[in-house]
Amino acid sequence: MVNRQFQDAVADAGGSQETHQRVIEVETEVLFDCTVNELYRETGGRKGDRSSLPTAAQTAYMANEVRATHELNAASTSYSHDQDERDGQIVEQVRETSRQTRKWLPW
């Protein structure tokens, strides 16, 4: 549910189609220092189904996406009208939120 709201916030902020994938890649890299592929592979999860990830990983994503949703909703009106710039701003917003979240994670 949280992930749907997060992706809705990306759409509402005017993110392009590819941006939905980019934000996932960037939050995963910052939160876990790896790719989505590696996260599933190393935890033995079922790809495409985050409920198969360890609880700690699910919680980290959830906490981050609640925050990122809020940040995107708050900042989206100030984003550029140029699509590429706007996508970049969304991705950077998610990166920054993820950095903040990372500080609270035990790893």
Partner: protein, 156 residues
């Protein structure tokens, strides 16, 4: 998509496919494109590469399969990927995990509401095979697409 942007998008998708692998360089990129898709001066070379790497990226780094249905494979006419949608779907389904991810995504979607399904309209329209009827042979997703479009027309 203009050629310059097309090349940039191919590079970005290629990077995401290869991230985490041993050191990657722009040199590897060009030689890989040339080897797999042909003459770098031709736009069609880059279009084929875009479809392959975007699809590959979605397969390897799929966190939530439902996002494929709702966003990443849900092509709206205003998306820069729209004109390559059929090629992307072909490439996606050519990966061994592709169809399984679609099934997982459809299961996840099934538990949500009608609004969520509506959001995925572009995906269902694509796989239902209209107007090209390309995915008729792939009964699993084609049936889903048809059922969805039928429910839409009944509702309206």
């Amino acid at each position: 998509m203009k050629l310059a942007k097309l090349k940039e998008r191919v590079f970005r998708n290629w990077q995401q496919v290869n991230v985490g692998e041993s050191a990657i360089a722009a040199q590897d990129f060009k030689s890989e494109i040339r080897q797999n898709f042909g003459d770098l001066r031709r736009k069609s070379t880059w279009e084929k590469a875009l479809a392959r790497y975007y699809a590959h990226r979605l397969v390897v780094n799929c966190l939530d399969a439902v996002s494929l249905i709702a966003y990443s494979l849900n092509f709206a006419p205003n998306s820069e990927y729209f004109e390559y949608r059929y090629e992307i779907m072909d490439e996606f389904l050519a990966f061994p995990e592709g169809l399984e991810l679609i099934k997982v995504g459809l299961d996840q979607l099934n538990y949500s509401n009608a609004k969520d399904r509506e959001k995925a309209h572009g995906f269902f329209e694509l796989v239902s095979g209209q107007p090209q009827q390309r995915y008729r042979s792939n009964s699993v997703i084609a049936n889903w697409g048809k059922r969805y479009l039928l429910s839409q027309s009944t509702a309206s």
